[in-house]
Symmetry: C2
Subunit: 216 residues, 2 copies
DNA sequence: TAGATTGTTAATCGATTAACAATC
DNA sequence: TAGATTGTTAATCGATTAACAATC
């Protein structure tokens, strides 16, 4: 990492996790080094793009040699902030919230589930992987007192905006938003949206379009 | 829709679901017409982009008037293929698979859950919203015999590739892939990836970066 | 008709790809 | 050293924004 990481486009950032995944797999397979050319064939992107992407963060390679897989893997991990731990909570403990709470891989990457919340008395008090589901009323205090960085919003869009505002007021740093609504939070609070139905509609578009083309 | 919808960029397509959502909300709020200017302020994009996007599919507006909300909403729905029904199955009936199976909104958009599959004997035989979870061995036959368009893959990446290949061989048209692996399917089979951990890493990057900037 | 606003062309901006000199 | 491959500049491509004539 260099001093100047500002202004790196979201296009580049969006590709980092995929590089990270491929490099992790190469490392696990015992591969020591790889050239941008070989990686490009594996990942089906251009070698040019790979080199440009990495060079946004400084030089990780060596002329005539390529990239050291282990080193590059770790550096990208650092860029992504995976060398640190982040405490997170899940707000909305329905099916999706509980599914995410059960997903163990997040822990491996340094994301630690500290609490879950819901307003449904039937689920309050039960646990997911040892983490208690608490009533919504306790959320604000909990965020303040437990050094919570990230909140995962898996609740209906009607309540999502209000909850997000409360979280913002209590010092949350980032929101992973699964509610089907755009949140409008103060600059400085990072929001990453996962709009599942949008994703399904995109699939539907491509499916429909392809069919029509076949009919022509 | 015009005859020539080929070559529409994925950038445009990716924005359609968001237009659809805003227009649906406007319609529900009883708004009859809207100008690209007003919509641009609401959605925080440029009016130019809105007009360009819509004009990819032909003219939906009227000079001096703007766009009729109801009409535009329906037209975008059609473009997205939401005027048709699609049968889908869920392969992998763990927490995430069951969460998606319980998500009722898909039904409202014409996506009909016809079957779920798993290899775990503990869940086979149980139901999600009346839909039975069947053993994996029955998947191929089921796809062939029940006019299944879309398969949702919510299973570990180790089995995802093999299952996707089987689905392809049995005539699946589209795959909504939640497994953390890139599928490599014959051209013509649409794939939409939802890589949740990639999304979380992006959030982590932005969070980490913002912090570093503050420290400077 | 006059005013408003689209549809569309032109200008700009940014991202991707190509090329190659630097260097291991 | 010669060969390989990066880092980086330059060229191309595509997407976004601006401008405005067409027209309701």
């Amino acid at each position: 990492m260099t001093e100047n990481e500002k202004g790196i486009s979201q296009a580049v950032i969006g590709r980092l996790p995929r590089y990270f995944r491929y490099l992790g797999e190469l490392r696990d397979a015992g591969v020591e080094r790889i050239s941008s050319q070989d990686l490009s064939e594996l990942m089906k992107v251009t070698a040019s793009q790979i080199r440009q992407d990495f060079n946004n963060f400084g030089g990780f390679g060596q002329q005539g040699y390529g990239y050291n897989v282990e080193y590059l893997y770790r550096e990208i991990g650092k860029i992504l902030g995976l060398d640190q731990t982040h405490n997170f909570i899940i707000v909305g403990s329905g099916n999706l919230g509980r599914a995410l709470g059960n997903y163990l891989n997040f822990e491996r990457r340094g994301f630690l589930l500290k609490g879950m919340f819901d307003q449904n008395p039937d689920v309050i008090g039960s646990t997911v992987r040892g983490v208690k589901i608490m009533p919504m009323e306790e959320m604000e205090r909990f965020v303040r007192e437990n050094d919570i960085d990230i909140a995962v919003l898996t609740l209906p869009k009607t309540s999502a905006v209000g909850v997000a505002d409360k979280l913002a007021q209590n010092g949350i740093k980032a929101i992973w938003n699964f509610a089907h609504v755009d949140l409008n939070l103060p600059k400085g609070i990072q929001v990453e949206n996962v709009h599942l139905s949008d994703s399904l509609m995109k699939l539907s578009y491509n499916l429909t379009r392809y069919r029509k083309e076949q009919e022509e």
